[in-house]
Assembly symmetry: C2
Homo-oligomer: 476 residues x 2
């Protein structure tokens, strides 16, 4: 693809595939469909992001653990809905190169079964509750559909999955609220907008009571799930026999929740914050926060490079991830290169900057250029980092809000979708039957409803008084 | 096992199995042999340790990346010695639950093949060199021998593997020196002693030119490999066709190295630093650095607990990982519990401490007790952390040195081994033939030699002038 021809909104698919590879996020030439190599630049952004979530989980009392990747078949099969839900996409190990094994092992597609087998050994009394654990691991899903780099893959390399167990349904419900709060803070910290919806019953996670999904809208106006928060009720507790002795001496099954986020969040962040020039990283997750470009003229080379080195040192000493581009490319080529990679601030240093004790700054989001005195560089950078972040966040919320439309009939929903895509909400009586009919009639997918948002008007299917809005659209 | 009956040196195997489980490092009840659940306490220590290595690698110019876990069979099979070396222990995926796949995939036992496939795409010119990458990932080896928790497992959950590519053999040799320097710093930072030996040719890593191993001696006096540094020469470059264009326009295969360390290091650390009461963690990798034990007497409860809370807050504000044990156990039970878990410093707070504005400190390694003024707590803790670390490190070097013995004949070596075990070094002419005969005659395993250590005397097999000492012993 030609550099000048990138068009994020009009040709998102091409934009995305080009950018994630050209900007050194991933390499999709690894010879297995749906499995990617993460290059250092992309991996750094992913790690910085995931660490924010891990720290949040710890602040909220979760502890990090590790459970094995291979699940014995008999453990995997204990909860029937789960088995059914994942059996289409789970890889099997039944041999080594030289030898057939006595048992079959499954590559975890998610870790409920592995963890809950252990929970049944760990939990005896109410004193052992609550348990709040998480792990960040690779999981495997044989996606038969169209794979997409980072967004839909067969090896999810950083699945952050939290799993909890509680004394009562009430405690589990509280935990769901806490999980939603944590995820809100996490996506807020990445400047992403989101819609939180209760999943239609017929799409609920295998083995769960109910779940909430966080959705963002991608530049092609399709909805994408950012994370999932699931109330498992007692189904797994019963399947794995996770009982505890209550204060009164009687026994009860525990109540469980789980919630997960993956590297997909970086794919979404790149898509939502980027522009026609490429990625725009918020500074706190940018692998390189400041790129210094020397602009030497004949005779000034030494002074310019020396100043670049001085500035680099100063930035590093102040904890800023900075680098100088000393390649032989022209300044214009360097601008293009680092803009594509989303470095939030560029520092240009030429002979005039040397003479005047100034530096020239260019912020990545607006490309606005400004000259500041050397001694103002650090406070100015911090100011710019904040402004860029605020700007990205504001834009992402505007994008989400302008792509959610209300319709009061099936026909209107179809018409709006034809014209504008995005997410449509329609009044709904709340019954599964009508929800499924909305999906059929509009040929769109149900994303769920917001239980706290009262609807106005009549259910677009049965005409009875609407309880909620049912959100529909096309999903990744 | 009874608490009082722990004997690290006289019954190491029992000590180890008990401690790693009772101290909440791992749970070995996961129903697959050689695969463990890492509990939060153990996982934290592991992560803190591994982060030291990751930071060191980055300081030395390595970048972190991620390569897929599943390796297509045809990629895995490209280097014949490697294939042969790992085919006995590599798991295979050839199906999902519902479907047979078109190709076979192998679970990485280590990532040479995955990475070098990509290197061949990335490296064109000398400008692309050197490449210095690492990743910390789970790898899988079907160990047929006796598995041991953490030390010999079938899923290695944190394999830190670095892989480099260079223009010349000289550069690769320099890289080996750098890797050894990095590993020395890493093991030094954990207070572990080590012996660095060049591996006997007949035991060299599949596909490699030569390698160096770091060995520690365990409490049962068997040698254990802590890490491996490997010069791969051009064998993989030839197998994967990794060529670069030189400055003069001609083409050459790259020269490669790789080096790896795993969670085994924590198993060794627990073993070497521990005592009959359990683990002793150096403070910088201790999941909990200070445990506060309230010693309330009737009437003083409120004041004692308040002071405990105040001290906890103060410690946390100063970045110390601290906790109060508020369980209903007796103080004695609490001491036992946290000593087993290796918390470096215990703070006891009783009514007298409240009255006198003091705290009572007990250091885990010597169990020495001391009373300090409240305002001296922080500097005293830092001092104790340092003293404990220095003491552990000193002891570990003493242990290593006192368990390396010199013998000047096969008979003497056998006799010393019968009496003292440990590692024996014998003068050796340097020829493979004699090295292998030493192994046979002593019924011990060859660990290698130190090329910088000149031997005195005659080769114990052929009687010719000795070039080096050949180190022998029993390995994990």
């Amino acid at each position: 693809m030609e550099s000048g021809s990138l068009r994020k909104y009009s040709n998102f698919s091409e934009w995305y595939d080009y950018v994630v590879e050209a900007a050194d996020i991933i390499d999709k030439r690894y010879p297995v469909k749906g499995m990617l190599v993460w290059k250092p630049y992309g991996y750094k952004a992913l790690k910085l992001s995931m660490r924010i979530l891990e720290n949040l989980l710890e602040e909220y009392g979760h502890e990090e653990a590790y459970f094995p990747m291979l699940v014995p078949e008999e453990v995997f099969a204990k909860e029937k809905d789960f088995l059914e839900g994942f059996s289409g996409e789970t890889f099997v190990v039944e041999r080594t190169i030289r030898k057939v094994l006595m048992r079959k092992f499954l590559l975890r597609p998610t870790s409920e079964t592995v963890m809950y087998y252990m929970f049944s050994l760990w939990i005896q009394s109410y004193k052992d509750l609550p348990i709040k654990l998480f792990q960040t691991v690779n999981v495997f899903r044989y996606e038969t559909e169209h794979t997409r780099p980072i967004l839909r893959v067969r090896e999810i390399i950083m699945f952050n999955e939290a799993h909890t167990a509680h004394e009562s349904l009430e405690d589990a419900n509280k935990q769901i609220k806490e999980a939603i709060e944590i995820y809100k803070k996490f996506f807020d910290s990445l400047g992403l907008s989101y819609l939180i919806l209760k999943t239609p019953k017929w799409d609920t996670f295998a083995g769960a009571e109910y779940n909430f999904d966080f959705f963002e809208i991608m530049p092609d106006k399709r909805a994408i799930e950012l994370g999932s928060v699931i109330n498992l009720g007692q189904k797994f507790a019963k399947a794995f026999d996770i009982k505890y002795q209550k204060r009164d001496g009687s026994y009860e099954y525990v109540y469980q929740t789980c919630y997960g986020v993956s590297e997909r969040v970086i794919g979404v962040l790149i898509s939502v914050h980027g522009d026609d020039r490429g990625i725009i990283f918020p500074a706190h997750i940018a692998p390189i926060q400041v790129i210094i470009i020397p602009i030497p003229y004949k005779g000034s080379e030494e002074a310019v490079f020396k100043k670049c080195d001085d500035i680099l040192l100063k930035l590093k000493q102040n904890g800023i991830r900075a680098r100088i581009d000393k390649t032989e490319n022209t300044p214009g080529e360097k601008y293009y290169y680092w803009e594509l990679r989303g470095v939030p601030v560029r520092v240009e240093i030429g002979p005039r900057d040397v003479r005047n004790n100034t530096v020239t700054l260019v912020r990545r989001d607006t490309l606005k250029r400004m000259v500041v005195k050397d001694e103002e560089l650090l406070p100015k950078l911090n100011e710019l980092f904040k402004e860029i972040f605020d700007n990205l966040k504001k834009k992402s919320w505007e994008w989400l809000n302008q792509n959610i439309h209300t319709a009061s009939s099936v026909e209107e929903a179809k018409e709006i979708y034809r014209e504008k895509q995005g997410i449509i909400k329609v009044p709904w009586c709340g019954r599964d039957e009508c929800g499924q009919k909305i999906e059929e009639a509009t040929e769109l997918e149900g994303l769920g409803h917001d239980p706290e948002e009262k609807a106005e008007g009549a259910c677009v299917i049965c005409g009875k008084e609407a309880k909620w809005y049912f959100y529909i659209g096309k999903k990744y």
